[in-house]
Symmetry: C2
Subunit: 786 residues, 2 copies
Amino acid sequence: MTRARALTDRDLDLIDAYWRAANYLSVGQIYLLDNPLLREPLRAEHVKPRLLGHWGTTPGLNFCYAHLNRVIKARDLNMIYIMGPGHGGPAAVANAWLEGAYSEVYPHVPQDAAGMARLFRQFSFPGGVPSHVAPETPGSIHEGGELGYALAHAYGAAFDNPDLVVACIVGDGEAETGPLAAGWHSTKFLDPVRDGAVLPILHLNGYKIANPAVLARIPDEELLSLLRGYGHRPIMLSGDEPADMHRAMAAALDEALDEIARIQAAARSGALTERPRWPMIVLRTPKGWTGPKEVDGLPVEGTWRSHQVPLAGVRDDPEHLAMLEAWLRSYRPEELFDADGRPVPALRGCAPAGERRMSANPHANGGLLLRPLNLPDFRAFGVAVDKPGQTSTEPTRALGAYLREVVAANPDNFRIMGPDETASNRLGAVFEATDRVFTGERYGTDEHLGPRGRVMEVLSEHLCQGWLEGYLLTGRHGLFNSYEAFVHIVDSMFNQYAKWLKVTRRLPWRRPVASFNYLLSSHVWRQDHNGFTHQDPGFLDVVMNKKPEIIRVYLPPDANTLLSVADHCLRSQDLVNVIVAGKQPSPNWLPMDDAVLHCARGIGIWEWASTDGGGDPDVVLACAGDVPTLETLAAVDLLRRFFPELRVRVINVVDLMRLQPPSEHPHGLSDAEFDALFTVDKPIIFAFHGYPYLIHRLAYRRAGHPNLHVRGYKEEGTTTTPFDMVMLNDLDRYHLVMDVIDRVPSLGGRVAHVRQRMTDQRRVMRAYTREHGEDAPEIRDWTWPY
Amino acid sequence: MTRARALTDRDLDLIDAYWRAANYLSVGQIYLLDNPLLREPLRAEHVKPRLLGHWGTTPGLNFCYAHLNRVIKARDLNMIYIMGPGHGGPAAVANAWLEGAYSEVYPHVPQDAAGMARLFRQFSFPGGVPSHVAPETPGSIHEGGELGYALAHAYGAAFDNPDLVVACIVGDGEAETGPLAAGWHSTKFLDPVRDGAVLPILHLNGYKIANPAVLARIPDEELLSLLRGYGHRPIMLSGDEPADMHRAMAAALDEALDEIARIQAAARSGALTERPRWPMIVLRTPKGWTGPKEVDGLPVEGTWRSHQVPLAGVRDDPEHLAMLEAWLRSYRPEELFDADGRPVPALRGCAPAGERRMSANPHANGGLLLRPLNLPDFRAFGVAVDKPGQTSTEPTRALGAYLREVVAANPDNFRIMGPDETASNRLGAVFEATDRVFTGERYGTDEHLGPRGRVMEVLSEHLCQGWLEGYLLTGRHGLFNSYEAFVHIVDSMFNQYAKWLKVTRRLPWRRPVASFNYLLSSHVWRQDHNGFTHQDPGFLDVVMNKKPEIIRVYLPPDANTLLSVADHCLRSQDLVNVIVAGKQPSPNWLPMDDAVLHCARGIGIWEWASTDGGGDPDVVLACAGDVPTLETLAAVDLLRRFFPELRVRVINVVDLMRLQPPSEHPHGLSDAEFDALFTVDKPIIFAFHGYPYLIHRLAYRRAGHPNLHVRGYKEEGTTTTPFDMVMLNDLDRYHLVMDVIDRVPSLGGRVAHVRQRMTDQRRVMRAYTREHGEDAPEIRDWTWPY
């Protein structure tokens, strides 16, 4: 980057023309069905019948875009644009069209009068494009729907992209959200050497929907204090006179980009040792700037009344119609577009070229830049299993060793995010290969802490999720590990990301990105020590509501299956993979080859545990999840001893989606396969990791469903022991045996005796636990005895 | 409040003794099974086999508690204590026991040696109490599990409690979360006249689980700048020498409380016009203060190694055992507890008396203070309905008029929270009776904005939820209105609150509080204009995973039923009520009396819409939600015309819980009732507001379930028209007719013709929409013609 030459009046005029063009195109999108260039007087029938869109934030977004284009050209910047304000759709589309990128992606919307007409008509129109910045919008990695994630996405994009500058518009509405407020502290996780820069532009236009925005109503001094407290050096400009504001904005951007260049140069030459105070811009302009000042006697520009459509009665009220026409003509479209409706050459010259255009920057279509991970052979990190269930491993610890090698082999495009739980989730081996990223002050006692690590830990699930989203959408890879219960904190971010993926998968020009991988550990069954607040397996229910083609849920029952599943997930694209895995020592069931095969199938009969000799069973015991698998096998052990003649089939489910019909999910088993596994007429006792209803909702169409009885978490728990947790929820081995007894007819005379024994065993176990504070040795030491 | 007298050395010694006692009791809880007073040398068998608990944050919490007790006594303060740091359980319990409140609530844990032994043993022990501050902890309204909500709870408690001071400890870990970061801005929503005060104490002990905390690793100047930016006047103290720190903390508290008193006096006398800069305290002390300095050659006090149990090998390692004993004895228990194990009189004298004790303050058991709402007769706000479906009303607008009167009749204990959507959700009538609360700068153009309103709007669902939780738990009433899709933002807060309620309901000393009422409007079917990101009815699925006894979900189909449901919810206690209601004009189906009866039943046959003449139907059309009800009735209209001989039964569901078996939910219909309504053998086409799986999971045990076919939202949507939304998801009237055709045998020769017509109609409607940008008149103008 080099210092730009001094700006001339002509430069500023050009920027103003570009801004007027973007504003004109924005208003046109909101209002016009026809007569796009106002070649004839505006009539009611030129106006859309339903006016849907948001003007308020748009002129500010266009203003920034025009100025950023100047500095991109002047400095040959590699820059993308994150528009935090949700309703900035018209601005994003207008600029993409002005730059030509829109027509390249959507040739049916060319850069001419017909294209402009189509551009206007399609906006917020059935069969058209959404009113927000959306996956359909070229140049965007940030959906403008739910608010709060602009900064997290911006930083995620900047990590490991040393040449990228991410301009991030933060609306003063969004700034009230928690995730955005937390996002400011990303400054302590950005490395000026390896990472690019984020240039936040806090846009104070003063209002949300119907209220003032908090940050717009505190004194400047207080606001500046806040932003300095976040670690920034703010540059403030304020006003509503375009010429003055153009000059001020150009100066502010030059100052900010000079400062970014200076910081990066110093850091990269080793001259910088302190955490830099990154520049940012505070831009205060009226809401609905350049729009109608007053409508029906009420102030509009500069108030919340500009939020959506400042003139609402255009088709019915000639005065409103005239105001709309005057408003549109105030941008002087005749100077901006030629006879064919194309932007005049001077305007086209304002836009950067090719991939330097923010609407065509490949970082905003990250699949273009995606390099596959270098993945070590996961089999090398597996556990030798001679006989099932004889040895124990902490599954996530085995995974940690594998991830250490993934980290080492991919030093610039793979990150692990987590809220301070990477070690707690027993992935600590990664710290043999890398550090936790931190650019705040460091002490001698700190361990594995440094500016350049691959692991990002911050006590905000929102930031972890948002950073990783930004990182993936710009073409990299990663994993988010979380305590299972607390991943609910990002339910809505997951929802929005799943919606984004659903849409991008249907857009051929959006290239596939690496999948979003969740590793949920410290799960419900082993949060006995942390108590009820830490026990919640319901994220799976949230996940299952999203489009089946992008959702995968895996419940590997042991270390080898976890490794196989993880390898599979890290190779996949355009999916959300959810892996639930334990961190506590638990039995190893499958040798690696069997584990790989089992995971590939996703579901299977465990013949070595079954007693049906491959023939018809009397009962099916199914399980999904590590603890339910353990309890199921312990129940089978009891059943073998009490009812040696009983034919038990054991089914383990790794890939939850296999349970659905193939019409509902691409992984779904056919009815014939399902029936062959589960039978159509035998009792099925299903021990499930999560809330039991989930299994019913997956399997309710199956022939055997009336025989299906599911045990799972039923919202009982406290601070206790692991076995007490399963007893509290009737998922324990003794209860499973009783479930079998209750459902298999003709087990003979021992039934009453066994039932009593099981009841007694539960009582004895409970008493032992209350007395000793831990599980009885026969629980702790149980191994599969066959 | 009056300025305290000067502190003597003896005062400080007493505070130190009290602190040592609390620390001793905390360490005892974490470690000891027996020998509570160390009357004999500590042996391995005195120590718990599983060491579960968190020491790190505890001494800081105890330090603050001791000092707050002094100022409570000196100034006769009405104060409660919010402990943000999650793992502060030992501190909360220790102080409650020291103050005597613990033994009053739990007489089996008396204030003597036997009680102390039980206190120690029960902590984090099966059958005992959780390791976090929990519902079981006297004096708490704030669960220490999931982090982020301390400030929101504190402010919620302070609203409309002018004499209350809420001391709120913010941990530096929690401070990284988004909700906490947003919570600081609550300063702009607190009225010094009508509300009490919050005294935040930011406790920097430097570490989370395994990482430094961000706010502890930025320069003091930057931190102070941040806190000033939040609107505070911070008072900072830092150190590890107890005597110095006692003196500094006492001075800081006096300064802060003097300032609070000054602000409140000025505001209440009318002398204060500006928003005050409220004092707060920054307390920097070592993590694990007064614990082991070094263990096995590694530093512990002042590092993350103090987070949980500093000495982990006590039962096996004699050196660790000796260190534990020395650590415990360092508090000099012999000076603190008498021969019977009671706190010595001087210590008991440190605690305030009666309800001034923070562990016994009735605000922390808000049901004690609960006054029922003055509720106007909701019937007066209803709509006259002569014939079903002839007129339209915006249901939430009718509700708004009712809420206006609720607000007016309850000026000090009812608040409405929402993220800037009260007007958008068409509850705007409330602004005839009250303002939006805002204490930031106000302009002349602002409307309904003031310091003393009943409506709280901030663009943070987290804050809305957290404020209302704090408000309800201190004995008041309220309603949270949200866009349906974005309530997912608080999924995890809902989960935690539901867990809290589940536990409190089982504690007889916890008095019932008013229910948490959600009004979800701007729902999935009418977010056609805002697009896919705004379409998500999945909150209901999250809600349904919680304990049935505290969960209610209502889907009133029109204005009158909404009023009846709202009245019912506002009268209820200890529940979470979720109401889903539309804001767009939609048909009025039921006269008020019928509406009340229908809501009381929760489910019922709409005979006026059915054609089975009260006899056996050929098909059951069920519906839940306003839009599904409309489409169902429109489908019935079509069926009447095409198949006049078809006997159709129409069932409307208001109370979703009625569908569950009574074994699963107290509102559940018996099988006999369910079968009588839905039949056991006739096809059931169920048009549902949310994801269709939810109905299956509620009804899968019913005899008629194999015949149940559910239509609902299947994650299809974009910016389009309302009818296109239902068509995209096959919930439209035409598709429902086809569903009936597909499932009712022997409809005669017209079937093929009708199916074709329905298919054609869908095509025609879609084409109209794409052409005109709105729904066809026959959709918009349809009314129930009978």
